[in-house]
Symmetry: C2
Subunit: 233 residues, 2 copies
Amino acid sequence: MSTSSARPAGDPTPEPEREPAGATPTKESSLTLERGLNLLQAVADADSEAPTISDLANIVGVSRAAVYRLLGPLQSRGLVRREGSKVRLGLGVLWLAGKVVPQLRFAALPALRALAERVGATVHLTVADGNEAQAIAVVEPSWTSYHVAYRVGTRHSVQRGAAGRAVDLSEEGPKWITSVGELQPGAYGVAAPVRGVAGLRASVGVIAMEPLSPDEVGPLVVRTCSAVADALG
Amino acid sequence: MSTSSARPAGDPTPEPEREPAGATPTKESSLTLERGLNLLQAVADADSEAPTISDLANIVGVSRAAVYRLLGPLQSRGLVRREGSKVRLGLGVLWLAGKVVPQLRFAALPALRALAERVGATVHLTVADGNEAQAIAVVEPSWTSYHVAYRVGTRHSVQRGAAGRAVDLSEEGPKWITSVGELQPGAYGVAAPVRGVAGLRASVGVIAMEPLSPDEVGPLVVRTCSAVADALG
DNA sequence: GCGCGGTGTTCGTTTTACGGACACTTTTGT
DNA sequence: ACAAAAGTGTCCGTAAAACGAACACCGCGC
């Protein structure tokens, strides 16, 4: 939550206060929406056993009448669907997911571009989806005569390529990974995982036609990963 | 807004039974949740221009204070994230999307199984994601000596294979599509698109090792598509 | 038959969310 | 440079919205 460096308005200066016992540090929340999203989450959590209305009322901790009210808006947007008396996730979720990728890409682009121009090679952001990895953003340097063209949307196993293996790189151990000709003969890769963004398995990678100097490029990639993580977190 | 409101009022339940009593199309709704989801949608709709709090207040038609309150729950679940003073979609959406596929698969399985047993060949449900198609459910017949093994998760271009081309089959024209050896030499395919489920581009296909009788199998596939559409809609 | 576990809707009450106002900081503009 | 504009974040009293118990109802099994 807004770990961004620049905090716009002043809240670190509790100067004009007369708040005796600050019970909650400004708990901004809306109970109804909270419950509505709890409901959505409860539906999502039930993988194979579709919950009934009553089940949901129990899980979320509200009356059944409330579940009906909350289900309305959820349903009209296709986030949930009713199948007889069972409730399941709806396809509106997929629509939303389709919208998140461009925004994710957009947010990460500046950091990727900086790296691409710096090292003069193609840079990409890859996210894991199950045990497949997919490139969601690619940036090519603007000043080179030759560089590798890498297509957005490329998918491969998370076990292949520097970018693939990097997404699940353990906390300890090497900070980055290199590969030679794993996905494409003659292609040299360096990649590092993006850490610190909850729910995201991703990596930033560099692809070049000539061997990269790992000691030089590696740290740059790692730094870009941090930048990307900041941009997304 | 969008097409989501295209919910046929009449409950399309060709499913035999289970429907308790006459479902009265009562407009159950919760204003707060409605607004909260509108907010989420507003954030999703802004592809490249990240909206500010004030923007969102204008778009959704509520006071800024309300936006703050609504943003709380949304943010804590990672559905949106704040980037300085801009608001973007969060990664919780991807998490949700990951949960919808198994439920989708589960819902469609009975219809697929029925078809597989009927024609004695492997049946699969394929959904399009961008210009790639991915098999999310595969059912193999239980009584055949030989059948094609097809892996869940297989991806290919939407232009290839009967299942791929079927997802974007226009309303007019053929009801189903056949293919021979397009993805795999010696494999014969018949596929038809799943229609009527808003926001979903999908197809049901049959794969066999021997030529299928289109006139016989085609209508069956189409019928299965309807069944699947009903199960999901 | 009767209870049991479901759904769907109503109604009066009070909790919840509303939005104008304020204090403040950052950016814009002449 | 300074002023004006636009932005954020938070307070408050008020009114409207959401709450949950209760009701009417249906299908199933003991």
